[in-house]
Structures are given as structure tokens and as C-alpha cells.
Point group: C2
Chain length 355, copies 2
Amino acid sequence: MPATIRDVARASGVHISTVSRTFSAPHLVNPETRSRVLACAEHLGYRPNRAARALITGRTHNIGLMVADIANPFFPPLIKAAESQARHRDYHIFVTDTNEDPAVEEELVHALAKQVDGLLLCSPRMSNDLIQQLSREVPLVVVNRHVTGLPSVVMDVGQGARLAIEHLSGLGHRDIALLGGPRGSWTNREIRRAAGNAARAVGATLTVLGPNPPTEDGGLAMAEQVQRSGVTAVLAYNDLMAIGLIERLDSLGVRVPSDISVVGIDDIALSRLTRPKLTTVATPTAAAGRAAVDMLLAHDPSSPRGRSIAGDGRRTTAQVTLQTELVIRDSTGPGPHRPADPGDAAAAAPDGVAS
Amino acid sequence: MPATIRDVARASGVHISTVSRTFSAPHLVNPETRSRVLACAEHLGYRPNRAARALITGRTHNIGLMVADIANPFFPPLIKAAESQARHRDYHIFVTDTNEDPAVEEELVHALAKQVDGLLLCSPRMSNDLIQQLSREVPLVVVNRHVTGLPSVVMDVGQGARLAIEHLSGLGHRDIALLGGPRGSWTNREIRRAAGNAARAVGATLTVLGPNPPTEDGGLAMAEQVQRSGVTAVLAYNDLMAIGLIERLDSLGVRVPSDISVVGIDDIALSRLTRPKLTTVATPTAAAGRAAVDMLLAHDPSSPRGRSIAGDGRRTTAQVTLQTELVIRDSTGPGPHRPADPGDAAAAAPDGVAS
DNA sequence: ATCGCAACTGCAAAGGTTTGCAGCAGAAGT
DNA sequence: ACTTCTGCTGCAAACCTTTGCAGTTGCGAT
């Protein structure tokens, strides 16, 4: 039923190859012929069959984007940015949700491998080994995680966590809890490491609670444990958990920030709308989405199938790190102790390089 | 580089057609042969090329899912439900965001047409005519909208709006504002119609404010106008707008619900977490996602290309309507007037059929 | 007049898979 | 012993497009 290239060829009295060129290499065909072909195509409602095209060119002009949980407001800005960036390069983005499930992730990579030119893995929960192995099947760019040998774009949550701890310390908090995220999350490990170092540097104790599901419920569920732990401040793996935590603390009669200060991470839109407004670490998610698309498409210009040009065997495996910043709102307040130092506490933490 | 069916055939000493059948019609091949083929395939890491398969069978086993705005928390539950339902039927869902832009919608339908077996259009902003026309290119199921001749699944927001108005009236509100949604939204028209009827029935005045973008900002922006309008209650197009509105009203010193009552629609997860918790119309989004997938796949069983079987020319264009219900939380309270009637106000509204 | 060249177009192979048809062996039925 | 059937396998066409190569035409240059 749908018109094929052959129908157009017949209708316009040229060979199918001319029709093909009219679309994929217009400069190679006589303007007069071209317009006639275009008219016929228009009239017949012809659209090139992308499956057939992909079969022979090896390029689909599609990009897959896998996120751990599409219900997490952290992702939509990233997705939208990636989509608009891709659209500019004449690519389409297909989004899929993996339900935070490594098995689903693997299956989806296989399923998508042949239907896309590359895959953006956002916060994957698979093992590094598996990711590396899968990358032989289809070009991969990893977001929110480092995988050696693969291009990746990460946000410097370590720095953000450090800033958060220093902020809390500066407010006079000495007993801080870290509300951990999901097992298998690179970001989670990073936060934990950096927060641990920062706490040590400022002389605070850090209690790690977790792992937990990175959702409101994950935060809700830990409220009582936080209360019992006796800490006066909490750094949460993400804003969603922070919001859930605050909500439940409130039900328990614990006030934020007067009783306990809470800091989130991500700066999702919602964090500006809850009461109290959330102090949080802002991550440049839109920039990450754009950067990931750019990295994926970096080697693309028409290299038909192979791994870029023969000469430069290794794909340049750039690793982009985007800076984060602390946004101070209303969920953090003075703690029980006098601030440690008049000077910026940051000066006391000359540990590792930034990333 | 990736192993093809031919490689497997060579390795296992059979014809490619046998390999093909091993995967797509196992019962037609000798168990012994089959296991040998499977072993070789496994060993070579062979995976059928879906593009090639799609080319000949005409089925991709993919479903496209277009949403107006992926950042709207209304959609993720729908998406997740659709994905899981599709997975059970061995289909994959590709999600795309249209930015509430009809032009993007049209372009995406064209782009996806040949790469999916069908498309789920969620809250499309295109004209009915265009949608009908596009439906000749690829099977379509419309969600959150009625398009004559096309299968659709809608939530009965009209009923929900009526319940909301009756609830407000019952609380003693007589001057109610309707915070309208985006132009082109079927849901918006439906709410407006039903709310108008219900207001008339209970003897309240309904002021329509809009259209507005269906986001927090859309609600924020209208707060002052709401305040000036002198109404004591507001029904918002969706929860996001309601939340934005409440937030800004609060900044303006207007308290919810003591000064103004606010009702949202959708019952997104967030509406349970804001302060005050939002009274809202719950829509069964997950059920909608499942239903949409089912409708799309209803005629599928292996009909290779054509419009179902020859006999029943017309695709059954079922229209599923899902019920909504009012969830009363903390954003609505007593109004300035005595409740109209002791009896349930609903009795006074014997107007049209439910949907 | 001839040649070279540019611009355009047609030919046919290729890409990986599915599937109707035909072939084959062996078993079962007569 | 002959046919019929069953169960399995191979053959080759088909799906729709792209693209290297070769062919045609017309033009300016020699």
C-alpha cells in the first residue's frame, strides 16, 4: 500500500536510482528532473523506507537513550536537551526506561543495537564488564558513570558533595548522615567517597545509611532511622529522596531545617516548589544531554559502518566532566555547634584533584 | 563485523533458511539440527538483524509512544505501564517528546512510521484532520483525546471535573475559577464543558482563565489574576498548574485552603508531597497505558502487512473511557457560603450522559 | 572534425532476512 | 512392491533502498 521508490520512478519516468539520488544526493540530479520527481513523490505520498535504507547504509539516524527511571524528574531535562541537540543533527532520539534493572538494560541494548547508530546509557546499573562487552555491539556513550575505555560524560557530584558537607559544617553541623542511593550506581560511590573525605577534612562524622531506592519512597522509608541516628544534618543521594525524607520527618514532628538540615542533589524543578525549598547541588543535566549526543556523533560524518577511519584505530574515548554547584535555599539552617572556622572550610580540604 | 545468518549457516553446515527457521519457527526444524544451530549462533554472538527482518515481514516489534512533554509527571506512569505491557507481548516502546509542538508531532510521525508497527499519541496537539490523515500511514491509537474513526483511550476527566465542582460547591464555594490548559488540548475542552455544566447545575459561577501552558509556570503566572478575580476556589487543568498556583499565591500572602481552595487534576505522585497536600482528580494513567498498547496490538496476530483481515474492512475503532475519581486532601476547605443543599449536590445535575 | 570533460542517468549488485515451493528420505499404509 | 504421507531441508525470490560503475548526451576547447 505505501508508495515505494519504484512507484515514484514509474510515475516520473526515471530509474529508481535517480529517485534515490533525488533524496539522498540532490546535487547529482538535474534540477528539472529533480522537481518532477519530487512532485510525483509528493503526490504519491512517498517516504523513503528507513529500514531498507538502514540495511544498506548501516546508519539509521536514530539514537537510543536509556534511562534508569523515567519517572525521576532528574532525567527529563537531559532527555529534552539530547532530543533537541539530536534534532539539529538530523537524528532522532528513542527513549527507553530500564526500571533500574540490569537485566532489562542488557536486553534493551541488544534489541536496540541494530536499530540505532549509538546508545546513550544514562546511569546504567550493569557491571562495567558487561558495558564494555556490549560496546562492541554498538557505539556507547555512558552518562553519570565512568567506564574505562568508553566515552562518558559525568557531573562532578563529588565536588558537589564536598560543597554540601562544607556548607553544613559551616552552619555548625558535626553529625551528618549520608542517605545513600541504589546499589550499582557510580554516582552513589562518588558521592560517598567525596562526602567521606570532606567530612574528615572538616572534622564531622558521616553516617552512611543505605543503599536505598532513589525515590521519594526511598527517602520516606529512612526518616525514622535518620531521626533515631541523632544526626543534625542529612545529605541525600538525590532531591527525590530528600523530599520524601523531609515529608516524613515532618509527619514525625521533626522540623526542617530547625531540627534537621537536609541537602539534596540534582536541583530538579520540584526542589524549588516544596516547602521548605530545598538546598541542593545543581547538576547541569541539559548540558550533559547535549554533550552526550555530541560525543556519540563526533565520529559520525558518514563513516558508513566501520569504527571511524582506519588510521585512528582507537575511538577517542573522551571523558567530559561537568561542574556542579551548591544552591542554598531553605532546607538548611544553623546546627548545634559553633562554626568550625571563620575562614572558608574549603581551605582545609586540599585533598585529591577535582576529578 | 557482526555475525549474520550466513555465518551461522556456514558454521553449522546448514542452509540459511534453516537458521532462519530455527529462530522464527523452531517447530519446523529437527531438534538435533536446531540445537547445533543454536550452539553456533550462541558461539558467534549472532543476533537477527531486526532491520532486515522488518523489511520483509513488515513488522518491527516496536511501538512508538509520543508524549507532549516528558517532563510532565503525568506521563511517566503511563509510559512505564505501556512499556511493561508491551514487553509481555514481546514489543519494545520508543518514547519521544514533542515539546507540545504540533509541527514536531507531525514530523515525528513520519519519521517513526516505518520503524514501528504502531504509534501511541498521548495528548497530541495536532488537528483532528491531520491525525486522521496520518493514520493512513501507520496504525494510531490516540490517548487523552477523541478522534472520530480512530481507536482511543481517554480518561473521563469530564466526570472528574464535575465531581470537583460539586465538592467545592458542597464546601460553600460559589465563585470558582477554571485555570485552563493549553490550546488544542481535547482534555481541556472536556474539562471546560463539564465544569461549566456542573457549575450551572449547582448554581455557581465559573470564570475561565486561559489558555495557559500546562506547567508549574503556567500556574505561577496566573496567581495574581486569580487573586484579583475574587474567586474562592480554583479548578486547575492539572496538578502541575495547581502546585505552581498555590506556590505563588502563598508568596502573595493568600493561604490555601483558608483563603482559596484549589483542586488539581491527574493525581501525580507529587501532589501527595506538596504542602498543603493537593485535592485532585485521580486519573488511571497506568491503566490507560496498558489499554492503549492492547488496543494497538489487538489486530496484530501476524497479519503481515495489510489492514487486518480482508473481511472486516474497518478496523474496530474502539473507544475506551476510564473512570476518574476525586481524591480529597488538604488544599480544599470551607468557602464563604453555606452549603447549598443537605442532599448530595450530584442529584441536581441530571444533565448529559457521563461521557 | 575530434577530443575531453562535465553533467546526468541507468544498471545491477548488495544488504540480511523470511517464506512459498520443491525436493528428499524414510515410514506407514495397501 | 507401490503409493502416500510426514518431517525436514534447500532453493530462490522478495522486501526497498543505496551506490560504484558505466553509459549517454551536449558543450567548449583544440
